[in-house]
Amino acid sequence: MSDAYIYDTLRTPRGKGRKDGALHEVTAARLSAQVLNALKSRNGLEGHAVEDVIWGNVTQVMEQGGCLARTAVLASDLDERIPGLAINRFCASGMEAVNLAANQVRGGAGEGYIAGGVEMMGRVPMGSDGAAIAVDPSIAMETYFVPQGISADIIATEYGFTRDEADALAVESQRRAKAAWDDGRFAKSIIEVQDQNGLTILDHDEYMRPGTDMQTLGALTPAFQAMGEVMPGFDAVARMKYPHLERINHIHHAGNSSGIVDGAAGVLIGSRAFGEKWGLKPRARIVQTTKIGTDPTIMLTGPVPATEKALRDSGMAIGDIDLFEVNEAFASVVLRFQQAFNVDPGLVNVNGGSIAMGHPLGATGAMIIGTLLDELERTGKGTGLATLCIASGMGAATIIERV
């Protein structure tokens, strides 16, 4: 079995996922194509250079439907002999694309892959592809379906996180993201989004709110309390699965949950031979890839068992990891991760996360792998782990190690 290496990572800036967001005018295929073109040109790829483009994307309808991966390839400068595979593992789609590609390479199914993902959340609304788990009574009732925000609040209740702790994590995410931008830490991987004339559309993460403090967040009302306690009453469903809980503590709101944004990211993955062929230096080895199912009601605790499994399967211990990226879908997800492994918060999401910069569902998994690698390189550290919680009760993790 050969090893799989990361040769390059890049991402677009994240635009606000709404009508007045900077990327709202850009189609999912064009944004994807810009990432593919950048990977092609930065790495000097020509012709049938990679085996496949594996592209994560959650809401696969409308312009994001019809196997967007293939559409994006055809919309890009890549050779038409390169096919495309659209995949959906909800919030970890971008990570799953990377992991799949890595494992294809390891298994000998081709030397090189492009993996990544996109989500134009302002153009193709989350949930607009339907979901039987939410709406089919025979499944929703059997699985005690509740929306993710309720799940995040269940985590807070079950593991005892307060509103203040969640808000403090959000404030820190904003502070770190601002510091990272000011320090140019994302520069290596950010490509600016341009129009067909080469004019700049967006060159920075526009969702961020630097200067956010506890007072600003304190003024926000819990986002999931009404749907939990009143209509339609998801808390009662949550208590059926977690009957020892007297009530659900609704601590999450727009300011300590991930932002709705547009964005795309890509990773170039290949074998040692792939790098030699194209004259590229491997930046990191993909040590371990993991995915796991968890209870769908609390839904978002997946990073803990996914990390445990990744460590176990790779024969590592938590102390072997130098840096962590834990997707900030909701503050409680990260708080739970830190609690479970007793890791130093100073090693987790050191350059901010989805609370500050936004969470373009299908792209985030690839983005945080890139962010992790850039930071390992910047700080001279060796090993990093990225992990995400996933809708319907799943978790995914990737361990990388600089080479």
């Binding site: 009574p137 025979s138 009732m141 379906f145 009662a236």
Partner: protein, 732 residues
């Protein structure tokens, strides 16, 4: 004799009249379906017939529903494949109703066909509404006392003859929800504003209005058969519909706590049906309906809540005695119970003498009826005239001589044998020897109290539950010497006030409280063990109990519990088994945590008496155990604590009819209605498993779970309670 007849008019309108032989209200049976179909065939084939009116020969009603024995027959006739028998039978019903709905039109061009109107003189329930929904227009007589709706869910099934599919397509999922999921019934005007019926017309013009419509050459294609049909409010994957359906699953799940399979099946039929064309939706409805009918819960619910409840109300266990209808009732004690008894009796047209020691207390008891009727007037449920009638029937006095002429007296004074004996003697001195004397005691042995009477054969227990006007069950207790006429009197009285009776023999706590107390105690024991209080109450809710044991104690009050515990301990001496429970409730009592009435119990309450969270002092005294039991263990403890008492009550002859044990448990304390009652539940899980589980619980938690000999014997034989005791006559 057939239940359906047709008369073809010279104007081309054929009137099909439904008139079930020998019943006061129409009921659909297997032959009825065939007869109706034959007449529809005839009308559709006859060129002289322009259209049809389907109506009822019963004044004031269209139909009360389906003879549920049809279902049993479909199942039984299919031999070793009952599901197929049910599915085929249900599809057969669909075919007949669909024939009415298509009415001979070309299904492709939607041309042709004859208008068929339903003309409802009044009440239309279940199949009695499902057939009209298949017709092209529903006319309802403006009859305010009529009830129109689909109450199937109340007995654990759902409308399975197209009613679910048609109503959702007619009204949309959101608007149809209360009608289908809660079985909400409406009077004709409300049914019209809900969109269930199309027109409300004066009762004497019902047929004429329907005739006019039939002859007006109306459009008869149902919206769902027409091109471009869209479900009102949106189908599941329409943006608006999506939110409705997400919400519906959550609401049904939360409200039913997952304990009612019919609600889930109903909602699934709605959801899956909404995604496909109408005829496919009917097939889906039939599959889920079959699924519910095959679930032992539905059979058990139908048996207890429909068949046996009705049998008990009609006097299944009434001794042979002449009519004992009560004309004049004496109520001793105008407290909460006495006031409630006076109210429900006066509402039933009985003259009431309400006696208390002080006139103001008696007046206060009567005022309870006034304020109850006022609340009814406010909600449009009563009128000033009705209120005046009710109040006129109640005489509030301190004068025992007013009891003269009473044929029944119910004593509802303080639970003290001496006080009770005093008022009993005082009252009996005023009435004739024929008067039946009843005590509403909930704790004192009837046989002992009967000693205050010279005619113990006329002395009986009539145990009401609180609040009297809301609770549906009355527990009648025979003392050792109680005679058959007293039992007949009590039963006839309960029938007059439209409640459901059970008749039990005298023993500590009779039947109901005997089962409720161990349920509450088991919950309290768990608190002392450090089980999370929420887990205890939530476990009960997920079994279908309306409130968990800790919430129930708060409602009934801790000091009452403590009082009962002290009395029981005094009576039982060393055999008393509940020290662990007492440790908690005596401590609560000493802390002033007396329950809701004190604004402090297992829960905290705000100034308005609204329940807040569990009292933190509880966790301070009984810290939460690190290892919490799993939900099923908690549930089994709560269930078996009650169910084993029911088995013992049967074994000891306190209960003589398991039907009463089952119906009583559901109506008196909300025992897991989906199960059909304690004995039905044991039959569902099987006596061998029940005995095995009791052995495990006894080993882990103590001898209160020891498998009773009767259960052990039945388990060894693999015998079920209804198989053994279902003949109704054989006592244990």
């Amino acid at each position: 004799m057939t239940d359906f007849t047709m008369e073809k008019g010279a104007d081309g309108v054929a009137i099909i009249t439904w008139d079930t032989v020998g019943k006061s209200m129409n009921v659909m049976n297997a032959q009825g379906f065939l007869d109706l179909e034959a007449l529809i065939d005839d009308a559709l084939a006859d060129d002289a017939v322009k259209g049809v009116i389907l109506t009822s020969g019963k004044p004031g009603s269209f139909a009360g529903g389906m003879d549920l024995n049809i279902i049993a027959k479909m199942r039984d006739d299919a031999g070793d494949n009952p599901a197929k028998g049910l599915f085929d039978g249900v599809m057969g019903m669909h075919a007949i109703l669909r024939k009415i709905e298509r009415a001979g039109m070309d299904p492709k061009t939607l041309k042709g066909g004859k208008p068929i109107a339903a003309a409802l003189p009044g009440t239309a329930l279940g199949i009695g509404l499902e057939i009209p929904l298949a017709c092209h227009r529903i006319f309802a007589a403006d009859n305010p006392s009529a009830k129109i709706g689909l109450p199937e869910i109340m007995v654990g099934i759902f409308p399975g003859a197209g009613g679910t599919t048609r109503l959702v397509r007619k009204l949309g999922a959101m608007a149809a929800s209360p009608l289908l999921l809660e079985g909400k019934l409406n009077d004709p005007r409300k049914a019209k504003s809900a969109g269930v019926v199309d027109e409300v017309v004066p009762a004497d013009q019902l047929i004429e209005k329907a005739r006019e419509w039939v002859l007006s050459n109306p459009a008869i294609v149902k919206p769902w058969d027409d091109k471009g049909y869209k479900m009102p409010g949106g189908a599941p994957y329409h943006p608006a519909g999506f939110m409705t359906f997400v919400g519906a699953s959550a609401m049904v799940n939360g409200k039913t706590q997952g304990a009612f399979p019919a609600a889930k099946a109903l909602l699934s039929a709605v959801y899956e049906g909404a995604l496909v064309p109408f005829d496919t939706a009917l097939k889906i409805e039939a599959r889920w309906f079959t699924n519910v009918l095959m679930n032992p819960s539905s059979s058990a619910m139908i048996r207890s809540l429909f068949i046996n409840k009705e049998a008990l109300e009609k006097g299944a266990n009434r001794p042979d005695a002449p009519d004992q209808k009560v004309r004049k009732l004496g109520v001793l004690g105008a407290g909460m119970m006495g006031a409630g008894i006076a109210l429900v009796s006066a509402q039933a047209g009985i003259e009431v003498v309400l006696i208390d020691q002080k006139q103001e207390a008696a007046d206060k008891g009567k005022a309870y009826s006034a304020s109850f009727m006022d609340a009814g007037i406010k909600r449009g449920k009563a009128t000033e005239a009705k209120k005046a009638e009710v109040l006129d029937r109640i005489t509030a006095t301190t004068d025992y001589s007013a009891l003269k002429g009473c044929d029944l007296i119910i004593e509802a004074v303080f639970e003290d044998p001496g006080v009770k004996a005093g008022v009993t003697k005082q009252a009996l001195a005023e009435v004739g020897e024929d008067c039946i004397f009843a005590t509403n005691t909930s704790t004192l042995p009837i046989t002992d109290l009967a000693q205050a009477s010279d005619t113990p054969e006329n002395f009986i227990g009539i145990h009401f539950f609180s609040p009297v006007e809301k609770m549906l069950l009355v527990e009648i207790i025979k003392g050792a010497k109680t005679g058959p006429r007293a039992v007949a009197k009590a039963l006839d009285y309960v029938r007059q006030i439209r409640k459901t009776p059970i008749v039990v023999n005298d023993a500590r706590f009779f039947y109901c409280n005997r089962c409720i107390i161990p349920y509450i105690n088991e919950g309290i024991r768990m608190v002392a063990e450090g089980v999370a209080p929420a887990l205890i109450d939530n476990a009960a809710r997920q079994l279908g109990f309306p409130v968990g044991p800790l919430q129930l104690v708060d409602e009934t009050s801790i000091d009452l519990g403590a009082k009962i515990a002290r009395a029981t301990k005094a009576a039982m001496g060393d055999a008393y088994p509940d020290e662990a429970v007492d440790a908690v409730i005596f401590w609560m009592e000493s802390e002033g945590r007396l329950g809701r009435k004190a604004g402090a119990g297992f829960f905290d309450y705000d100034d308005k008496g609204k329940r807040q969270g569990y009292w933190p002092g509880l966790a301070a005294k009984y810290p939460r155990a690190a290892d919490q039991p799993d939900l099923h263990e908690v549930q089994h403890r709560l269930m078996f604590a009650q169910v084993l008492e029911a088995v013992r009550a049967l074994d000891e002859g306190v209960l003589t009819d398991i039907r009463e044990g089952d119906v009583g448990a559901i109506l008196a304390w909300g025992f897991a209605p989906w199960s059909g009652g304690p004995f039905s539940w044991l039959d569902i899980i099987g006596t061998p498993y029940a005995a095995e589980r009791c052995d495990q619980l006894a080993e882990k938690f103590g001898p209160r779970f020891t498998t009773p000999a009767l259960l052990r014997e039945m388990a060894d034989k693999g015998q079920g309670f209804y198989a053994r005791f279902g003949g109704h006559s054989e006592a244990a």
